[in-house]
Amino acid sequence: MIIIGEKINATLNAVKTIILNRDTKSLLDLTQKQAAAGADYIDVNVGTGVGSREDEIQSIIWAVESIQGQITTPLCIDSADPKVIATGLEILNGKPSMINSAKAEKHNLETVVPLVAEHDSFLVALAMDEDGIANTVDGRLRSCEKILDACETYGVAIENVFIDPLVMPISTDINSGLVTLETISAIKKSFPGAKTVTGLSNVSYGLPRRSRLNIAFLHMCIFAGLDAAIVDPLDEELMAAVKTGEVLAGRDRHCRRYMRAFRK
């Protein structure tokens, strides 16, 4: 399982403050802790919702310049604005990277997918289109098709694409979890080579004891074929659940990683 550390996200109040104050020390601290906890990528989202597009561009320049060179863990540039993504990738200048995200909207794909090709990056693509998030597996697969068609057009290998089947709260629709799980299986079956990624904690929104549900859901997603997860790597219970899920699903040869983590 590829772990994408989610903690540098401007929608979290503490992180918003770090970004607005240009607090490089705290930013690096948050980065290093996640890398040490086993993150394979560090997600960087600096969209504070304060100020203009230009402010977000200045913030991504600051964040990427501050982090790069300090750790070897690659960054995942996270923004709804392709211009912000392009800026982040230019600074990385060919270093390994991931883009978060594109969606199956014509204009969005035409802007973001070429960036993936140009920078030989990886792409997180959301299974949604102009009409929003479909509540059926078929609807979400249609979005996946549009995304993968665009990737082919611009010469992005299917293996570099991580599709997010998207997770909606079960508290408002009891079938939400099932649709995500079935979409993961369907993506793996319909688009061989394509990878899957998801944030998963949205599933438990509005319910008590969320971490219990998140862990159970992670296990089910692993069984369905999930390749990567956008999570808090400092959450020890969840990181342990990655190991228990993978070993049970036959994705940990001779139980090596499980034993390394839990052997006495």
Partner: protein, 229 residues
């Protein structure tokens, strides 16, 4: 069963969130007992005034649900289960209310603004408004300004509810209000706004009539308006 007993039972089951007899409720052990569908059908068979069913069994019980939600005793699924009961009951009652000549309290156009797909709160409000006797025109999510303006005009709406969950989309509300003014529609319609990033200050700033923390507050504000028009 007497009329008052029946009305009370319907209210109890709305609060329990039980649509049909087989449904589980908030409390354990209710499965198999008649629920909202069966009880409302029985009440209509007994020719109980549909307006009484609406006011005493639905509107009042949803107020109780609102209180429980405010106190964190009820969570989102509890509230949605109750709202579903109101929706089902209203479908059964609607033809009878029309026959009885019960007038709607007003037309309420409701939408999640352009660029935004979040609709949990909006959907709850839509059901609650129906249960409170309003005529609801729900335009859905990611609704363009033109569609909102056209709906307000076409339906001669008394109220307009705008929802947004993103800091990037909440600005759209201000544009809608400006356009209502430009088209001369602003004076005929009261504009309610809601959604996580919005606030009372924001409502004042963009010239909305009211900010609603949640669906229940929207209903409270409507009651205030009725009292002091």
């Amino acid at each position: 069963m007497s009329t008052s007993e029946l009305l009370e039972k319907i209210a109890f089951n709305v609060i329990q969130g039980r649509v049909e007899a087989e449904d589980d409720g908030f409390d354990p052990g209710l499965e198999g007992r008649p629920a909202v569908t069966e009880l409302v059908t029985e009440a209509l068979d007994q020719n109980i005034d549909p307006k009484k069913i609406l006011m005493q069994s639905l509107t009042e019980s949803m107020e109780t649900v609102g209180d429980k939600f405010e106190k964190n005793e009820y969570l989102i699924p509890d509230m949605l289960a109750s709202a579903e009961c109101v929706g089902v009951a209203m479908d059964l009652l609607a033809p009878h209310l029309i026959m009885a000549g019960v007038k709607s309290k007003g037309k309420f156009v409701i939408a999640t603004v352009k660029g935004d797909l979040h609709d949990i709160g909006k959907n709850i409000l839509a059901i609650m408004l129906k249960g409170a006797g309003y005529d609801v025109v729900d335009l859905g999510t990611d609704v363009s300004m033109d569609r909102i303006l056209n709906a307000v005009k076409e339906h001669e709406a008394t109220f307009l509810g705008l929802s947004a969950l993103l800091t990037t989309t909440m600005r759209e509300m201000e544009d809608v209000i400006q356009q209502l003014k430009a088209k001369g529609l602003r004076d005929n319609v009261k504009v309610f706004i809601g959604g996580a990033p919005t606030s009372n200050d924001f409502a004042v700033q963009i010239g909305a009539d009211a900010y609603c923390k949640d669906a229940f507050q929207a209903l409270d504000i409507l009651k205030e308006i009725k009292r002091s028009p």
